[in-house]
């Protein structure tokens, strides 16, 4: 029997999961399909900043106003995913003279509380001695995977269905109207036709590809940015440069590490981005201007995310100059009914994007229920307590597991029981899902110790036959090494060699899957 839904949502990032939650809360029967794991795309590859909007006040005031409004909403509804780090804008000796006043005026205009604070009160001992002025703003950080997972849990509680590792491969239309979709199970290969009253694309940078399936052209202009993971948390607050946005002007404290970003390159590719050493050096040099200790830190890895910029004008010159505000498109304008896309935007405004897209979808389906996502907290965020760095340690102690008892991953303090619970609650999870969900292997050793342990645990709970038992381990090691390669130097090169000794020379995994040629 053919399954049938009111709305099929494409894209398992923040926007798509937020959209499916919003629609489900309004009483619609929804299906979400995501080609990878949740946050497989841009949501899982951003720097972790919950914008106050201050970064946009001078150049993009509309985005700034949206950001501060959503910042306040998310602190409430997604409290557990947010760490209230605060943010600082740092004006260094030699930075443009007139920028601080324009910045402050812009903040006032946008309604963003920005306060100049005495340099002795920054609580940031590692800031550059060239710091001359500092401005505090309500920036925060947000855990994207927890956010998407909470949206999915809520959507499922409201009756929605979520399929990860399912790719949209076809869109069926009848007399110019979307009537169904075809999806493919990426892992099993089976295809299924599904009836749909409406197709809503929240595929972000991939939105152009979804549109093509429906016979519509949607010119996306992916703006790539790289981010470096440093092995220490070098700042308490999000540290921004108080000057017009440029490469390497932000350092975000996330968990036990911090993220230095970012760059901006417009490229047509969506699937693979080759980071160059020059790009890495650019970010290191610029962020070391704000925090000189960046030079002393180990660069654990580099990753790149594609900003889902919508470019109606086709100006591909400077992706940072495009507005970061979002657009909701009713493709009836392109001659296809029952198809909407939400493009542009940023993680901070994901909920608003979802609300606007859901409003349009409801109008088209004749549904009158109002949006409630701005007030109803996500599961786990009901008590309104924010995430804090010691949260895991506290939980481990409370459960009498001890800070260091039976830890599978020492860097991220993950005890065996936490892994077991995660695997029990997500039956199709593999090691990379553990990485995204629990930060397994994301600390300084980059999986040197936890990979084998987690693979053993996985095999115990989800036995695979024969050599297949090693494939999650091999895939995990390759994934970890991929982000390492462009930044291997000094101690991280040393760590890499240690990992080679363990997994090649001691455990001989390089010869495990392919039979050796004799």
């Amino acid at each position: 029997m053919t399954r049938s839904y009111d709305v099929v949502v494409v894209g398992g990032g923040a926007t798509g999961t937020g959209l499916v939650r919003d629609l489900a809360m309004r009483g619609l029967r929804c299906l979400l399909v995501e080609q990878g794991d949740l946050c497989h795309g841009t949501t899982g590859r951003f720097h972790g900043l919950l914008h106050s909007g201050a970064r946009y006040v001078v150049r993009d005031p509309l985005s700034a106003r949206e950001c501060i409004a959503e910042n306040r909403v998310l602190r409430r509804i997604a409290a557990a995913c947010v760490e209230d780090t605060g943010g600082l804008f740092c004006w260094l000796e030699g930075d443009p003279e007139d920028y601080p006043e324009r910045f402050l005026a812009g903040c006032r205009e946008a309604g963003i509380p920005a306060e100049e604070i005495a340099l002795s009160r920054t609580r940031e001992p590692l800031l550059s001695p060239r710091l001359r002025r500092a401005f505090a703003v309500p920036d925060a950080t947000i855990q994207p995977f927890d956010l998407a997972a909470a949206n999915v849990r809520s959507a499922e509680a409201y009756g929605a269905t979520v399929h990860r590792y399912h790719r949209l491969v076809g869109v069926a239309t009848r007399s110019g109207r979307v009537c169904g979709v075809e999806v493919e199970d990426v892992r099993g290969g089976e295809r299924e036709r599904i009836e749909a009253g409406l197709l809503a694309s929240a595929a972000g940078a991939w939105a152009g590809r979804v549109a093509v399936l429906a016979g519509v052209e949607l010119p996306m202009s992916p703006g790539w940015g790289i981010m470096l993971v440093l092995n220490q948390r070098l700042c308490r607050a999000v540290v921004n440069r108080c000057r017009p946005p440029s490469d390497g002007d932000i350092v975000v404290p996330v968990g036990t590490v911090c993220i230095a970003g970012t760059t901006s390159r417009t490229l047509d590719t969506l699937d693979r981005y080759e980071t160059s050493r020059e790009e890495v050096d650019l970010v290191l040099t610029a962020s070391a201007e704000m925090i000189p200790a960046v030079r002393e830190a180990r660069v654990l890895r580099v990753y790149a995310g594609a900003r889902p910029l919508y470019d109606p004008g086709a100006d591909r010159a400077a992706s940072r100059a495009l507005t970061r505000a979002h657009t909701v498109i009713d493709h009836a304008r392109d001659g296809v009914e029952g198809f909407v896309s939400v493009v542009g935007g940023k993680l901070t405004t994901y909920r608003l994007m979802a609300e606007d897209a859901a409003d349009l979808a409801c109008r088209k389906l004749g549904v009158e229920a109002p949006c409630r996502t701005a007030t109803e907290p996500l599961p786990g965020s009901e008590p309104g307590r924010h995430y804090w760095l010691g949260k895991r340690l506290e939980a481990n102690e409370r459960e009498r597991e001890g800070a260091d008892a039976d830890l599978v991953c020492e860097c991220e303090l993950i005890p065996r029981r936490m892994l077991e619970r995660f695997l029990e609650s997500s039956p199709d999870a593999d090691l990379e899902d553990l990485l995204r969900g629990l930060r397994l292997g994301m600390g300084p050793c980059q999986g040197a110790f936890c990979s084998l342990r987690a693979a053993g645990l996985l095999q115990r709970l989800r036995p695979r036959a024969g050599l297949e038992a090693l494939s999650p381990l091999v895939a995990f090691l390759e994934e970890r090494a991929k982000g390492n390669r462009p930044v291997l130097r000094d101690d991280q090169a040393r760590q890499h060699r240690l990992n080679e000794i363990i997994y090649r020379e001691v455990l001989a995994l390089d010869h495990a899957l392919a039979p050796p040629a004799v």
Binding site: G456, R460, V474, A493, I502, R504, E505, A512
Partner: protein
């Protein structure tokens, strides 16, 4: 002002396999030897085996001797090409020294041996301690996980070993089991803690008693490689239990520590001194290593040198460092380093477990047949300094599985050469 007289004939920097072999070799010629290092070498990460040449051109090496000759002939820059015929002599020297320290290493260059790992893989090696060798063909194996020990899951091993063995023409059946004993139910049970526990006869007995009913019908009991820091422990367990085999796993490596301790004991018995925790820099002038500057226990010391062996290791040990600028440097003596070929963006192989070459592996210090460091033109740069082990350029250790063989042979040659250096006025 004349320099004070050097207190040692040979100073060896580095306490890994290369350094200890060099120190032992020098001591065997009657030299007064000091071996010192910042810490222990990668013996504590590896598995206590001596891998001489495991793979050549993608294939597993069944017989190391001809494979070594083929490698040396094909790759004149390879350390084995310089060390040539001395590999066998060095291995036999090492085997005797380890035996003196209580560790029996089996095997030789005629035939590779197979060692099974906790991941269920089988890898070739040249010399292995008895406790790591099992009769795999036709074996019915009981694989035992120990409660609280994170680094071995017998289910993974049981799934992978049979198909891995079948590819090599061996028939192996594995039954996984987990054992929980009261002394295991405590915090901080890592490999070292377990090894110390197993060194106690009472616990060993308790373990053997618990395993005996489980092992009924099995020909081999496989346990993670934690069977005692004492070399006699594994054999004592086997006496109580029947055939048992240790499976190498994550660091710290108990068999690696056993080997390192055996060699250190042998060195002390031959009059050598060992000092751990010393960060060292060499002072060289006019083609000679003059003195050693070391910082230990909060004070700086300057020690005049007669001859010195530098065995500070490769990238993992810090003997070589890849600077942010993209240059590979040797920090202890600033020796000339042969840089990896090709652009820096291509120095590391694309896939971590891939089988292609990796340029970074080739970086290091080039040496002549006496293990004296060479500059880019092939001239000896320092007369009384000898290099050994991971520092040496030209080997693809991550592909070849040659790290131990190179360490042993180069350490042996460097130690003998260093002992032969005449005192200068």
């Amino acid at each position: 002002m004349p320099s004070p007289r050097p207190p040692y004939d040979v100073v060896v920097v580095g306490l890994g396999l290369a350094g200890l072999t060099a120190a032992l070799a020098a001591a065997s010629r009657g030299a007064r030897v000091l071996a010192l290092g910042k810490g222990y070498g990668t013996t504590h990460f590896r598995s206590g085996t001596i891998d001489v040449l495991g793979y050549l051109e993608g294939g597993a090496v069944r017989s190391p001797r001809p494979a070594l000759s083929a490698l040396a002939a094909a790759r004149p820059e390879h350390p084995y090409a310089r060390l040539g015929g001395r590999v066998e002599e060095a291995l036999s020297f090492l085997r005797d020294a380890a035996r003196g320290g209580g560790v029996e290493l089996q095997g030789g260059l005629d035939e590779a041996q197979l060692v099974a790992t906790t991941a269920g893989t089988l890898r070739p090696t040249c010399l292995a301690p008895t406790s790591l060798l099992g009769a795999w063909d036709g074996a019915r194996v009981l694989a035992v996980g120990l409660q609280g020990f994170r680094d071995f899951d017998p289910e993974l091993f049981a799934a992978t070993l049979p198909p891995v063995a079948a590819r090599l023409g061996l028939e192996v059946a594995v039954r996984p089991a987990r054992l929980s004993l009261a002394p295991l139910l405590r915090r901080h049970l890592d490999g070292l803690g377990l090894a110390r526990l197993l060194d106690r006869p009472a616990f060993r007995h308790q373990l053997a008693e618990a395993l005996r009913p489980l092992a009924r019908g099995c020909t081999l009991v496989a346990l993670p490689a934690v069977l005692g820091l004492e070399a006699a422990t594994a054999a004592a367990l086997a006496t109580e239990l029947g055939p048992a085999v240790e499976l190498p796993t994550l660091p710290p490596s108990v068999p690696g520590i056993r080997l390192q301790r055996a060699l250190e004991r042998a060195l002390r018995e031959r009059g050598g001194r060992v000092q751990v925790g010393a960060e060292v820099r060499l002072e060289c002038a006019a083609g000679r290593a003059r003195a050693l500057e070391l910082e230990a226990a909060g004070r700086r010391l300057r020690m005049p040198l007669r001859s010195v062996v530098l065995a500070t290791g490769g990238m993992a040990s810090g003997g070589l460092r890849l600077e942010p600028s993209g240059a590979v440097v040797e920090p202890a003596a600033d020796l000339p380093v042969a840089q990896p070929p090709g652009p820096p963006g291509r120095w590391f192989r694309e896939r971590f477990l891939g089988s292609c070459d990796q340029a970074i592996d080739l970086a290091g210090v080039r040496a002549d047949a006496c293990m004296r460091p060479l500059d880019a033109e092939g001239r000896v740069v320092i007369e009384n300094l000898f290099v050994a082990g991971g520092l040496l350029a030209g080997a693809e250790r991550s592909l070849e599985r040659s790290a131990d063989g190179i360490a042993c042979a180069s350490g042996y040659v460097a130690g003998l050469e260093a002992a032969a250096v005449e005192a200068t006025a």
